[in-house]
Symmetry: C2
Subunit: 115 residues, 2 copies
């Protein structure tokens, strides 16, 4: 909420996390930095959102994890997509695009028209 960053819209965090892991194993902190970077700071994922989300997504079987060592020599938990998670990512992208297209139609509707 500080400065100009937006609150996350429910449901998009899964999508962002899965995408962040689509290039191979990454640890949680790196995921959060990637989201911040790729959205140019528009989206900030709080740690209190991210770590529970990673656990939640893992429980669903879309990612798995193991302890490792980060580039900076610290202990870190690395997550990677499972095969199910790969499929899920593709599906989440499709759903998201279908959703935003529908909202876009609504928001840009030039006149009231019901049928």
């Amino acid at each position: 909420m500080s400065d100009s960053s937006l609150q996350l819209v429910r449901g998009t965090l899964d999508l962002l996390v899965l995408k962040a892991l689509s290039w191979g194993p990454r640890h949680g902190y790196a995921v959060s930095q990637w989201i911040k970077g790729v959205t140019e700071g528009a989206l900030l994922v709080e740690e209190g959102s991210l770590y529970p989300a990673l656990q939640r997504i893992q429980r669903k079987g879309w990612i798995r994890s193991r302890w490792g060592v980060s580039d900076t020599g610290r202990r870190a938990r690395f997550y990677e997509l499972t095969p199910v998670g790969e499929e899920r990512l593709a599906r989440e992208v499709r759903v998201w695009q279908r959703y935003t297209a529908a909202v876009e139609r609504a928001v840009s509707a030039p006149e009231w028209e019901v049928e």
Copy 2:
């Protein structure tokens, strides 16, 4: 969840309701039908979501309401935007577009890149 309609993404309902009322007073049922129509059935707003949302939005001062009679001769509560609501609509549209643009950047990122 039936057939192929999508669950609402949290936070977009306000936007859709405000937009639906941007052409003048409408009652709740008409708002739900408009959303269904304009999104070609992709978004279905459940009554258990819509009516509480209308009350919530009214409490925030973005809309006001009064009882009236619908086209079909039934009693219905008509909602309309307040001046604050008009501003809010414009703002919500901007926020939504900024948000979706950010997510789109993330989802279509061709490679991992952080700094």
